[in-house]
Amino acid sequence: MKLAYTLRLADDALIIGHRLSEWCGHGPILEQDIALTNTALDHLGRARSLYQYAAQQFNELPEAEKQTAFTSVAIQNLVNAGAAVSEDDMAFLRDGWDFRNTLLVEQPNIDWAYTVARAFYFDTYNYFFCSALKNSADTTLAAIAEKSLKEATYHLRWSSEWVVRLGDGTDESHERMQKAINELWSYTGEMFVASDAEKAMADQGIGVDVSKLKSLWMQRVQETLADATLAMPQAGWMQQGGKDGRHSENLGYILTELQFMQRAYPGMEW
């Protein structure tokens, strides 16, 4: 369960980092291009720490469990050859349904407002999440959370400032920001519904009880939207499935790019 939990956290970090990295070279302001790439690098760095930890846990599993942990033939081949898996194998060789990131982080960039809204929803969650995970009974996860909290604090400041800037900017930016906030709203509920792995890890004091983060998150979102002269989206149906491996169509395309080299040229050093 801890492996599944570690991967759940790693996948969120990798996929949102991937999305943000798509902006590199295409940002609306040079300084913001640099800032967003920095954030992408932070997420990627966190993903790497978590995948390294996940790979270590995987390599310590009994042989029979290694065979059935993932459907990927490429990973099964490694296991059959008696090879240890690495951070890269976790990221580049697992199939889509073995990814456990939320639907929110795989949503496309669309424009600066959607990118800011997605970042803002995630950063707010991630800030409270890391604040709680740093007290984990698992020292590795606690250490990763402690390092990430500093970054997450900055990310949240950055995305909150942009929500306000766009919300309380021009008529056009207000309209675009409100639309993005509304459109992405249905992907926020999933963050606070614990998966089996999240429940089990929270019970053991290793993971965070995500249901308890909801009110903190809601309050912070409300405050920032009020500052931004934006309306809170109406409560409604929430999309779910990412944590169980049922993703949106977006993930397939992300993995097609992300995994291309490792899938096309298996087993090589780069």
Binding site: L30, L44, R48, D88, T170, Q262, E269
Partner: protein, 317 residues
Amino acid sequence: MTVHSFQEHFDNLIDREITIEPKDWMPDDYRKTLIRQISQHAHSEIIGMLPEGNWITRAPSLRRKSVLLAKVQDEAGHGLYLYSAAETLGVTRDDLYDQLHSGKAKYSSIFNYPTLTWADMGAIGWLVDGAAIMNQVPLCRTSYGPYARAMVRVCKEESFHQRQGFEIMLTLSKGTEVQRKMAQDAFNRWWWPSLMMFGPPDAESPHTEQSVRWRIKRMTNDELRQKFIDVTVEQAKILGLTVPDKNLKWNEERGSYDSGAINWEEFWNVVKGNGPCNKQRLETRKKAWDEGKWVRDAAMANAEKRKQRKEKAAQAA
């Protein structure tokens, strides 16, 4: 002081290798030449983000992805300090962008070539950044202070980029057959355009003489190109790659390599806009700029609102 004595003072600073600073008097031509050169350099950094940015989402390992992202981010940073250096000469960044987007300003033609495989990330770091360093190291001592200081920082980072590019090539050259093929293919495609990076031959280079005097340039195009060839051919041997030049031969007498003729017709065509990616590169930048307009407008409008609220609050108090 009369204009004449301003000029004398300026010449005197140049002769004594003392840097010219933004508030110093300078001849119009000097200012114009610097704006042109620094802005071309800044544009090259920004356009240069695109060919490598093309492989960020497809990098073959998480470590390579981090390094590549950081590298492209460095280029954005170089663009930023170079635009700032140009601004000290009395132009705005927005003016310079307009010149880029309208096609009036040039940028390094090398970025008009496509990145087709992962090995191109190695070849660009090794060859393109390698050539850039040779061009740029002398500029750390150029006569204009803000430019010289920007270049010190740029060169430090470029030399890191060059090493990581070579390391990608080295890893490929020690890899499987297809990886070696990838490395050679990238070398074949990037070798000649890299040699063209030093600009036209000295006999045809219109700006060289004056620029050398002003220390905007410190070595001629052909001198730098020869230096690059001599260094790079030795590095190619370490990689086990074949230089794609049948006429390449060591010249004992000169202590340098003789090399084949460069296809200057191709060079001038790429400069004129006929390279494989000129249109795409410029359109990509224009699209980013145009689609970012509402974002920049919003940021300005918000800053103005905040300022007004602050002033109102101060008045009320």
